[in-house]
Amino acid sequence: MPTSTELWHDHLEWAGGLWSGRSLVLVLGLALALAVLALAAYNSRSLVSLRRRAVLLGMRAALLLSLLLVLAQPSWVTKSDRQSGKRIAVVLDRSGSMATGKRGERRWDRAAAAVRSLGERGGTALWAIGDHLEPLRDLRDIARVQPDAAQTDLLTALTSLREQAGQGTLQAVVLVSDGLDTAALSVRNGLGTTALDADSLQRVRDLGVPVHSVHIDDTKPVKDVAVAAVRLSKFGFARTYMPVSVDIEMSGLGDEKGALSLQLRDNGKLVATQAVPIAGLPRRTIELELQPMHVGPHIVQAQLAPLPDEATIANNVAYAGVSVVRDRVRVLHLAGQPSWDTRFLRTHLRANPAIDLVSFYIMVGDGAGAYVAGEDTTLIPFPAKEIFEDSLSGFDLIILHNFPYGPFQLDHYMPQLTRHMRVGGGLLVLGGPLALSAGGYHGTPLADLLPLQLEPPAEDGGWAEGRIVPTLTPLGIGHPLAMLARDPAANEVAWARHRWLGRNTALQAREGASVLVTDASGRALLAVGEVADGRSAVLATGSLWTWAFGADGLEGELTGDQAVPESEATVADARNDYHRLLDQLTAWLVHDPDFDLLRLAVPAEAVPVGQPLRVVATLRDGAGHPIGDAPLKWALVEPGQLTSELKGDQPGPRTDAKGQGSLALPSLTPGAWLLVVEALWQGRPQRATATIVVTAAAAESAHIQPSDRLLQLLAKASGGTVWSNGAPVGPVPVIAHDPNDAVSRADTVHTEVWSRPEVLVWLLLLLCGEWILRRRWGLA
């Protein structure tokens, strides 16, 4: 059957006999016919009725004319001419959604049949589209490809088609697809759109040919439940509930009863489960709440439990990334006794509007006895259970301030405190005569959480009075926690003006921890470390308050130490240093990203699958100066699988003079990932983490039910047609013939008219009819 691609010319051709160009034969034939007709008229003169004579002569004339036509051997000739090089591009959708259905009845099977039908008509060029456009050599090449592409990008297919097929080589485009675009076309033209957006329209018009489609629909809706989207704010506050909207779609469930199980996970941890009744609207939005507990990147996952015989379970899960910041830092301040150190720390913490403070001080000594009995005091029992069992997870930072281990059953609550640390909590131990080894920490689980190794208290009981000159270690000089000035040199000067009075003893640096400040003898005074996801710090003195009160700068004048001159300016500096050091300690302990040396710049939006992804890592020291020539390594980790040790890491580039290194990530498979990047600074790993959500794969299968909506929009924009479930019976409309185009003969079909049996029957009918009439009317 002639179909589409050619320019068709139909005409009647006299192939031989009387019309073969020989006029003599023609004249003789006509003369003979006239003679026969005249003879017939003569023979019928006996008839009285003129009407009967006319009938007989008419039949004889018709017979003679028919004979003459048969002798001329007419043929109906169909000639097709083809504009040179122009084809109809048949584009087969090979995306994953085309695999839906039972074997042999898949959308893919029907689509392939439609393509074969079109291809067999000739004049077509075959292509396949999934992640990218690729040519198919011929119809047999269809068997080579499978419906496994993770994306359907129809718009890119049309653009690529124009580029790869060549300008002016197309007559029309026929998309054979279920219409489930997962890329720009669907994003820009959502539900309710009645016309293509401007950019898509321009791209379609640039093709200059009609874009037809063969829409591959399902004979009946497939059984499927899908999480179409997880919607929540891109930013959230730690420990603050935030709404999460989960769009789910159900199809092909018929009259099934029961409920679907919808689970919500935060970084892989199950945080909510909800039963969704099957009965009801097929598209629904489920409202849930999420309380992200920790600052940083979070991957939120919504998942529907798969149903038996479900068409695909790839769309049962969807992801979204959220960056969790802190609205207020929740601090629990536990002090072993009221002191100037607690007093000034409290003033500092209360003055910070970003800090939500809960304090508890031990106010009564062992020997108070009857002096504090009864209702005369405002004392309340230490709510150890309420704090450690019920409320600990609600705090970002716990400060043990000169707090003894033994009297308050800390041992009983250490599992809670350890868990708090392991999941990202902060712990700050401020020293004093009741803390650390002097407070009975040695050999306890609490000691294991600290960055300093505790030894049994010596003769001094674990506490030594005396003036101490805090000294920055090489690591502390440029460490962001210990920066009291903008650059390392000024930082050393700033520290040199301070003195501390009294220190905890029996401390040794723990392997892997960072000792930032020591005394003149190298004994650790300020150290920080990490415990799983948590962070801890120890400041082994109880006299930090002297910085805040301004007494610190007096040391020089009062003791004759002229190296520490006292002035209003130095006192103000000392106060500022107090606040700065505590602010920095607090921020670092609660994972404030501003205190991360390594930072990542990743795309804010979800990344379509297959799209190249480039992430820039920036490494700066505590003073903000870029750190160049530092090797980077990175790994992609599934949510909930992040460990302190980077596993499966790959080498990255070295940072440049700006401290930056660009990581080119491979094509990611569908889902959500934590990108972990590490760099070495001062011999210590610096880590940054970011979420990367690859949504395209989820989108490919999120809307599993076919839809011709986008195909109709393309057709409407280009003057095309959408056929359902098979190739059109008639020709595919193409652009008008351009006479300037080169034309080549494609095909010629001769159909002999004279040799058809109907002609023989006609002649016999005429002969028999005339003979019968002549006999009845009495003629020979």
Partner: protein, 262 residues
Amino acid sequence: MLRLLPLSTLVALACLASALSAHAVQAAQASAVQFAWLRANAGPEPSSSLETWAQELRLRTSIAMVGQPVALRPDDRALLKYPLLYLSGDRALPPLSDAAVALLRRHFSSGGTLFVDNVGRAEPSAAFDTSLRQQLQRVFPQGLQKVPPGHVVFRSFYRLDRALGRRADSHDLEGLRVGNHYAVLYSRNDLAGALARQSFGGYALAVVPGGETQRELALRLAINLVMYALCLDYKDDQTHVLYLLSRRRGATGGQPPPREPE
């Protein structure tokens, strides 16, 4: 025994003891609390009262107190090492030097606290009262104001409804606010008199009109004053501590109970 020792030895021992005492005072200062008495020539030396005060604090609370107070002139820059100052008087307070005013202003601004005690024997000394107000206005012009009865200083350790001393001429405290707290707290009831002891240990002065009950109340006020200096409005928070804890557990609704005025 002391008479048997040579004078030079006595002098040497005295110097050593003094040095050790000074070192002990200075060394203990970082983690302990110590009174600094402002020697302003406005009244008797309150050493025994301050020692009793420190002793009661050690006995009744967990505060690490240094037993011996340190005496400093108001213009001694060393007072900037002692956040807790004490000033008493029973006669007119000599005008403070400009240096002393500046030092006190800096002390209060830095977070220090001054307890002022009117130790007039029969009644509050009007001369001390008047001169104190004049001098404090040089430090901070807003001057003294009455401390509200419900203020946290009356709840910082003991529950008190009055501010009593050896006398009960006034049930109120007055204070000088700097920032969010009282940097100066003034009692007109001779608090030190209620705490003063004889060398043999007994109380030196009778407490009127309430006797020993009033003395106990005076002691409790003394405890509260130091607790307030060290803890500020901590007790206001602690009133709500269980609410705050429950809020951490995720109960986000509701409003916190109203805070009592500081």
